[in-house]
Symmetry: C2
Subunit: 318 residues, 2 copies
């Protein structure tokens, strides 16, 4: 019997899980709502039932080996989800312990950006690298930092929050309650805020003037840039400048071999990579110049949250 | 025969070396000039001769085991000193290889802040800690970052340059050629610059108005603060604010258990620690609050450069 791993990605709205071989091949992907369960135990039961039912399809060829989970504020050391702002369950949820009890499988947990970094190391563009950073550009900015071949979890399990380093004290309000965090400028939401600031400040005509804030996406902005919309291109330049400058600071901490960008905003291709790389090189301390690559994730069109979560289980239990 | 280790601290003016037991006891300390040798080989020969001569005193009780060295731009991986701005020798100096050849002892090399961190881990206040940061506050600001029990050297050997993260783009000129680096504000030199800025901006009377820039030291400023000199106290407040805020960002990278401050400026005690801790706590992301200590180095009145360098050799070869 071949080994099969489960990757779970717990989001505020949906929980997505998938079955992954130890070679990193995703066999299938499924979802249940995260919301609407009266308590955590009901949610875990619903998740287990869905998982067992879908696993039926593989029972002749595979044996379920372990479960990896990515969750907001997921603590690798304790296996707990701790005070996650976007989830209904408050306080400290002993996810790994509880879910292992009902599934009779080993369960390991971290946050989605750390999971993405492990996925990149096992199956993506960071294969063989011992020092690298993965930046996920979604609603926020997540980061997974690998040094000496291992993820940095820190003393409490919560290291790697580059999205919450401050790039402008007293700047934009952040969901974390502080102001000026990197992710308020550099993320799918951050570039939307930049576009709206530019629409307010400038008198330049723009395709983007017809899209309400709620509907605006990194994809819209990329499409406008492809049509040579000046304001859209400027918004990428601004975003890339801030990202490039802050990544130059990140290098002064861990001196990685490469930095990988993943997520909706990274799909903007040259519009985001070109200004990011230019400002990055300009900002680096001399000893680091022309040594460090900024690259797209090698898992760009895959569900890296599910694959990464499974990778954690493969790394841990294979 | 007991084991004896050598710690060497290569500075721009002098090279200091000491003999250290594997329990971290410094038996004696000696120096030769770093400058004035016509080439690197002459310097290494002079250093070897001094070392062998002084080692005579211990030959009945101890056996020399290995040499650890701290040097500016010292690369742990290659054992080379690479393009150090403050040293006479340009380019890449294969220090460990050359010095091992003439001493017939194993030689290991890093920079002084990494050496300090290893010293803190083996013999100082970080004993038993797996995640911590050491900040050395001298002419510049050096840093050694430990995660998962190991120093972060990064892919090229040059990780841990927190002193060269940017806290004010377009701010004070730095010796590295860029502007606004943390060390231009937070270091013995940084606080001098702050005092002079305050003397220029303010009309407040101050003891410090009688001291020329060249003669001003962190010690002078501490003495003035002890006499309740308002401007001196304000200069510590300003320095502590910048340090506390930037250390809060550092936590978002590696989430350490503790941050240790070492060096002349750290000797100012409450004047620097109080504002640093206050601004640090105020600036932290919620998940990190009230978890992380900012402490004085446990090796404050020792020659941590020499002890740290020897610690590296003890860690590597014991």
């Amino acid at each position: 019997m071949k080994e099969l791993y489960v990757g779970i990605d717990i989001g505020g709205t949906n929980t997505i899980f998938g079955f992954i071989t130890k070679e990193g091949k995703l066999l299938s992907e499924h979802r249940i709502p995260t919301k609407g369960h009266s308590n955590i135990d009901k949610y875990l039961l619903a998740l287990k039932n869905a998982l067992i039912k879908k696993a039926e399809a593989y029972k002749d060829d595979y044996q379920l080996k372990a479960i990896g989970t990515g969750a907001p504020n997921g603590n690798y050391y304790s296996g707990s989800i701790e005070n996650a702002p976007n989830l209904e369950w408050k306080g400290i949820i002993k996810f790994s312990e509880k879910f292992s009890e009902i599934t009779h499988l080993p369960v390991v947990l971290t946050n989605d950006a750390n999971a993405a970094a492990i996925g990149e190391q096992l199956f993506g563009a960071a294969k063989g690298m011992k020092n690298f950073i993965v930046i996920t550009l979604g609603t926020g900015l997540g980061s997974g930092i690998v040094t000496n071949g291992e993820i940095i979890y820190g003393h409490d399990g919560f290291a790697g929050e580059i999205g919450h380093t401050i790039i402008n004290r007293g700047g934009r309000h952040c969901a974390c309650g502080r102001r000026g965090c990197l992710e308020t400028y550099v993320s799918a939401t951050g570039i939307k805020r930049t576009v709206y600031k530019m629409l307010a400040d400038s008198i330049e005509d723009s395709i983007l003037r017809s899209i309400p804030f709620d509907k605006l996406t990194a994809k819209n902005i990329t499409e406008a840039a492809l049509k040579n919309d000046k304001l859209a291109i400027l918004s990428f330049e601004y975003t890339g400048q801030i990202l490039g400058q802050q990544l130059a600071d990140a290098v002064a901490y861990t001196s990685p071999e490469a930095i990988f960008l993943f997520g909706g905003l990274a799909k903007a291709g040259k519009f985001i990579f070109e200004p990011t790389k230019r400002h990055f090189e300009e900002s680096l301390l001399a000893i680091y110049k022309n040594k460090i690559q900024i690259l797209p994730s090698g898992l760009m069109n895959q569900n890296v949250a599910v694959l990464g979560a499974a990778s954690l289980a493969i790394k841990e239990f294979n």
